[in-house]
C-alpha cells in the first residue's frame, strides 16, 4: 500500500516533469533563461553524482573531475563538429586529415547512423576517459586522502595542458579552442525534441549510478569508505573496487563533459580549470556527501542561484536618484559566497546529509509541521 503510493507519486512527478519540458520546448523563446539554467543544472547534476560516487560512496577524495570532463568534451566536440564548419574552426592550423576523413565517412553514411552519431560520440568520450582513468588509477589509487586529491588535481591540469598545447593543435585547435559545436541532437526521429535530450541522457546515467550503488559492488564501495582495513579483511579487493569506482565516475564525468560541449557550443581548455572542479565539489558538499538526490538537488539550486536568481546584484540599483553602492558586475558572486557559508553553517552535513530523498520522510515532515501548528492553535 505504502510502496504503491510512493511509486504513484514518483510516476506523477516524472510525468509532470516531462509535460513541463515539452511545454518548455514549445515555448523556449520566451523562457530562454529557464531553459539554459535547467540544462546546465542537469549536466552539473550528472558530474556531481559521479563525483559523489567516488568521494561520497567510495571515500576517495579525488579532484580530477574537470580533467575527465574535458576529455569527454573534447572527444565529443571533435567528433560532432560538422564537416562544412571544419575550416572555419581550425582556421589557424588546419585540421588533421584523419579527422576530416572520419567526418566525410559519417557525412556520407545513412541518416540513421547520423542521427545516433552524437550519442556514439558521447559514449566514445566516456570510454576514452574511462580507459585513461583505468591506466592512471594503477599509480594514483595507491595514494590516500589528501595525497590522492593532489595527484588527481595534477592529472586534471596535465590533461588541460595537453589539450591547449601547440603540438596537438591540428586535433584540439590548441589555445583557440573549439567552436561551432552542434547543440543537443533530437531523439527518436524528432519525437523527443532536442531540449529534452540532456535530461534523458543524464536520467539514464543517474539511474545506472543508483543501481550500481545499491548493488553488491556499491555495498563494497561503502565498506571501503567506512573502513579500508576491515573491508580488505572481509575479502574485498581494495585496488579492484577503487579502480572500478574511479573508472565509472570518470566515464560519467566525461559524458557530462560531452553534454557540456553541446550546451556551450564552444569550448576551450581554460573552461575546465581547477575552478570547475571546485564548483562541482561545492555542489557535492552542499547537497550532502553520500547522497545522490542531494547532489541533484544542489546542482539545480546552485546553478539557478548563481546564474539567475542573483543576477540583479550585478545590475546597478537606484533608489530615487541615489545609486546603491556595491551593485555592479561581480557583486553577485559575493552574495553567492555568503549564502553558501550560511547554508553550510546551518546544514553541517549538506542539504540531505548522507540520506536519500524519500516520500515517506517528506510527507512525515509536512504532517509534523501541521500537527505542531494545530497544537499551538
Amino acid at each position: 500500500m505504502r510502496i504503491k503510493r510512493n511509486t504513484l507519486l514518483t510516476t506523477t512527478v516524472f510525468a509532470l516533469l516531462v509535460v513541463f519540458l515539452y511545454w518548455l520546448s514549445a515555448n523556449r523563446m520566451q523562457n530562454g533563461m529557464l531553459v539554459s539554467v535547467l540544462q546546465k543544472g542537469v549536466i552539473f547534476a550528472l558530474v556531481a553524482v559521479s563525483m559523489n560516487l567516488l568521494n561520497g560512496f567510495t571515500g576517495l577524495f579525488s579532484l580530477g573531475q574537470a580533467g575527465f570532463m574535458s576529455i569527454g568534451a573534447y572527444t565529443t566536440a571533435i567528433l560532432i563538429i560538422p564537416v562544412k564548419s571544419l575550416d572555419g574552426v581550425y582556421y589557424m592550423n588546419g585540421v588533421h586529415p584523419g579527422i576530416r576523413a572520419l567526418k566525410m565517412v559519417v557525412a556520407d553514411s545513412p541518416a540513421f547512423v547520423q542521427s545516433i552519431f552524437p550519442f556514439v560520440a558521447l559514449l566514445l568520450g566516456g570510454l576514452l576517459a574511462a580507459g585513461i582513468a583505468a591506466i592512471v588509477g594503477v599509480a594514483v589509487l595507491r595514494l590516500k586522502s589528501d595525497y590522492l586529491a593532489i595527484a588527481t588535481l595534477g592529472l586534471s591540469e596535465i590533461v588541460r595542458a595537453i589539450f591547449s598545447s601547440p603540438q596537438f593543435d591540428q586535433i584540439t585547435n590548441g589555445s583557440y579552442g573549439l567552436n561551432k559545436i552542434p547543440t543537443f541532437p533530437e531523439m527518436a526521429w524528432g519525437l523527443i525534441p532536442s531540449l529534452l535530450t540532456p535530461f534523458i541522457v543524464v536520467g539514464f546515467c543517474v539511474v545506472f549510478i543508483l543501481l550500481l550503488i545499491n548493488s553488491s559492488y556499491g555495498r563494497a564501495f561503502k565498506a571501503i569508505r567506512e573502513d579500508e582495513i576491515a573491508a580488505e579483511a572481509m575479502g574485498i579487493n581494495l585496488y579492484k573496487h577503487k579502480s572500478m569506482s574511479f573508472v565509472v565516475s570518470s566515464f560519467f564525468s566525461a559524458v557530462a563533459g560531452g553534454l557540456l560541449a553541446m550546451y556551450m557550443r564552444s569550448i576551450e581548455a581554460k573552461t575546465f580549470s581547477i575552478t570547475m572542479t571546485y564548483d562541482i565539489l561545492l555542489i557535492v558538499v552542499i547537497g550532502g556527501i553520500g547522497s545522490v538526490t542531494g547532489s541533484i538537488l544542489s546542482a539545480f539550486l546552485v546553478t539557478i542561484a548563481k546564474e539567475w536568481w542573483l543576477r540583479f546584484f550585478d545590475q546597478p540599483l537606484f533608489f530615487g536618484g541615489w545609486q546603491v553602492p556595491l551593485f555592479r558586475t561581480g557583486f553577485r558572486m559575493v552574495i553567492f559566497s555568503i549564502l553558501l557559508m550560511v547554508v553550510v553553517l546551518i546544514y553541517r552535513k549538506g542539504l540531505m546529509g548522507s540520506t536519500e530523498f524519500s516520500w515517506d520522510r517528506l510527507i512525515g515532515r509536512f504532517r509534523r509541521t501541521k500537527n505542531s501548528e494545530g497544537g499551538a492553535a
Binding site: F208, L211, L212, S215, S216, Y217, R219, A220, K222, A223, E226, D227, I229, A230, A231, E232, A233, M234, G235, I236, N237, L238, M244, V248, S354
Partner: protein
C-alpha cells in the same frame, strides 16, 4: 593426529630495531581451539597481522590449508634463523594481500571493533559475502544475478538468526551495544565462509558474565560451522576454559606451549606474567 591447518615457520617481524615477533613457530590443528597469550606488548597482534597478510614478515613462512600465503626468504644475517625447505633457493618473497587470504578461508576480527559503522547490521554481513561474488559489476548493477543475490540475502539472514542478531537486522551497526557489536563482528567474519577463524581479543572490555557467554558462543559456532579457531586473549579464564592448545609469547619469543594445565604451571609463564620475585 589431526591435520595442521595453519603453520608458521620461523616467522620474524622486525620494525627497525625492534623485533616484535621473534622466530614464531605455530601449528594450528584443524577443528581445535588454539590460543596465543602473553603480557601486553608481547607481539600477539603483530603475529596475527603477519598471518592475515596485513604485514609482510621480515623472515619466515606462513602456510595455510596447503597454500603458502606469505613467505620472505631472508637476506644476510637473518638467513641463519630461517631453515625452511626453500633455503637453497634464491631470495624470494610470496606476498598475499589480506583480501586474498580471506577468500582462501581465513577470517578475522579486530581488537578494537572495526564494523562498518554507518551501515546496517544486515549490510555488514552482506559485504562480507561480496568477496565470493561471481557476477561482474555490470551484471550485478543490472540485477541479472538475481539467484546469487537471493542466496546471499538468505545466507545473511540465516547467519544473523544463528547468532541471535536478527531482530537488529536493519539497525545501524554502531547503535548496537558493545557486546553485540563483538558478536556482529564474529558473524561478519563467518559470512566470508572461513575454515579458520582468528579472534583478536574477543573478550576485551567484557565483564566476567559476558566473557562466560562468549566462551559458550565460540564453542557453539565452532561446532555449527565446523571451524578451527585461533584466538588472542588476555582473559585467562576464557583461554583456560576453551583452548585445546596454548602458545605463550613474551617479548616476541615463544616461552611456553601446551594445554591449559601445562601452561599454567610453567615457571617461565608465571615469571612473564607476575614478574621475578626479588630475592
Amino acid at each position: 593426529m589431526s591435520t595442521i591447518l595453519l603453520k608458521t615457520e620461523h616467522v620474524t617481524m622486525q620494525f627497525g630495531g625492534v623485533v616484535a615477533v621473534d622466530d614464531l613457530n605455530i601449528e594450528i590443528p584443524e577443528g581445535k581451539i588454539t590460543a596465543l597469550i602473553g603480557p601486553n606488548g608481547a607481539g600477539k597482534t603483530t603475529a596475527f597481522n603477519v598471518i592475515t597478510g596485513g604485514y609482510q614478515a621480515t623472515n619466515g613462512r606462513v602456510t595455510f590449508d596447503g597454500h603458502v600465503i606469505g613467505e620472505n626468504y631472508p637476506r644476510s644475517k637473518m638467513k641463519k634463523i630461517y631453515n625452511g625447505t626453500y633455503k637453497t633457493l634464491n631470495e624470494h618473497q610470496v606476498i598475499n594481500t589480506p583480501d586474498k587470504i580471506t577468500r582462501l578461508g581465513m577470517a578475522r576480527t579486530f581488537q578494537n571493533i572495526r564494523l562498518f559503522k554507518d551501515l546496517t547490521v544486515f549490510e555488514n554481513v552482506l559485504i562480507a559475502m561480496h568477496g565470493h561474488i561471481k557476477a561482474g559489476m555490470l551484471r550485478s548493477t543490472f540485477k541479472l544475478n538475481k539467484e546469487e543475490e537471493l542466496m546471499m540475502n538468505q545466507e545473511a539472514d540465516k547467519l544473523l538468526h544463528s547468532v541471535n542478531l536478527h531482530m537488529h537486522r536493519d539497525e545501524k551497526s554502531s547503535s548496537l551495544p558493545y557486546g553485540m557489536q563483538r558478536k556482529l563482528e564474529i558473524a561478519r567474519a563467518l559470512a566470508t565462509g572461513p575454515k579458520l577463524l582468528l579472534l583478536d581479543e574477543p573478550a576485551a572490555g567484557m565483564n566476567p558474565k559476558e566473557t562466560e557467554e562468549l566462551a559458550l558462543f565460540i564453542q557453539e559456532i565452532k561446532e555449527t560451522f565446523s571451524l578451527t579457531v585461533f584466538l588472542i586473549e588476555h582473559h585467562m579464564d576464557l583461554v583456560m576454559d576453551i583452548s585445546d592448545k596454548i602458545y605463550v609469547l613474551d617479548y616476541g619469543k615463544t616461552i611456553a606451549l601446551g594445554t591449559a594445565n601445562e601452561v599454567q604451571n610453567d615457571p617461565a609463564v608465571i615469571r612473564a606474567y607476575l614478574g621475578v620475585e626479588e630475592a
